[in-house]
Symmetry: C2
Subunit: 195 residues, 2 copies
């Protein structure tokens, strides 16, 4: 039998990506089979190929969608001119955005090595754009004398690395609320980049 009920094109596609997302995040891209993904969706493996040309593209699309969502969400903010306010906003945005998408974040930097060179370059470019938006805040603050860092590029990477650490331990309903976490990290970031 086939097409067990109704037209499913607009439903099955997202469900496949959803299943792939969770499985890739939990077990890793290489350890997950197309049959596992299909099983989670409730469909045979062959059906997946109506929605993705191959397994690699499935991974790529997940990462690309995530990075584009990130950039779009950040661009949509009403941004501050003042470097200190802008940095505070960045910290809060980054923490909240990433905590809402733990699986995507996990994949986005655990599975980079499983991308083809072309796909890797694509994702890297998006990541760079995001990092650059933080660096430009730091540079402006540096020029205005509000910040004092030895190297804005390194400071950028250090801040992002520090913030990314949050998703490895934060659990909603834990000891600290989201607001408190944000406050604690903003405190550390602010002091780290100030004289």
């Amino acid at each position: 039998m086939a097409r067990t009920q109704g037209s499913h094109s607009d439903i099955t596609g997202p469900r496949i990506r959803e299943a792939a997302l969770g499985l890739f995040a939990r077990h890793g891209f290489a350890a997950v089979s197309m049959r596992q993904i299909a099983g989670e969706v409730g469909v045979q493996a062959g059906a997946l190929y109506n929605y993705t040309p191959d397994k690699q593209s499935l991974l790529f699309r997940l990462m690309q969608d995530h990075m584009q969502d990130l950039l779009t969400a950040y661009d949509d903010l009403d941004r501050f001119d003042d470097p200190k306010k802008a940095l505070c906003q960045f910290v809060g945005f980054h923490i909240r955005f990433h905590l809402q998408r733990p699986d995507e974040v996990f994949i986005a930097y655990m599975e980079l090595r499983n991308l083809t060179p072309e796909n890797f370059a694509d994702i890297e470019a998006l990541r760079r754009r995001y990092e650059d938006s933080l660096e430009s805040i730091l540079r402006k603050g540096q020029e205005s004398g509000q910040f004092s860092v030895a190297d804005t590029k390194i400071a950028t990477l250090a801040v992002i690395a520090m913030l990314n650490g949050v998703i490895t331990w934060y659990r909603s309903g834990g000891r600290l609320s989201l607001d408190e976490v944000e406050q604690v990290y903003w405190d550390m970031v602010r002091k780290a980049v100030t004289a």
Copy 2:
């Protein structure tokens, strides 16, 4: 044919772990086959089983050895009582130790999900011991009034996350020397934990 020349037990074992280390770091545990590892060593896949009961144990041993080396190296330091000096020493130690072992570091926190629950618990305990040694520095500094952080546990994780970021971008012979990198990060850490 077998045993193409001489007794190899003391040579082949380390060579297998070396090959596995590089391959796991580059392609990920799940994406590397026993035949690939054997090929790099110059033996057939079956020969690997004279040195490891299975693939999982090979990964586990690499991670365990790494974590134990880390703890031993840190314990062997002549440590300072003064929290500020101790923290500075920790930062320098952490950066140098990890930059010397990029493959081990990569594996040690990319392949955690490929460990069996028992092996995972083992590695996690070692990691916790290392984190605790940093947290005790921060706590002592907090009590003495030299440091000022909202939460020593979070500060611990934030500092380690920030320092770990170094290995993702540092290339020896690059724009900054190791000493400079150490200095830049110490600056940021120091400011982040000070009032």
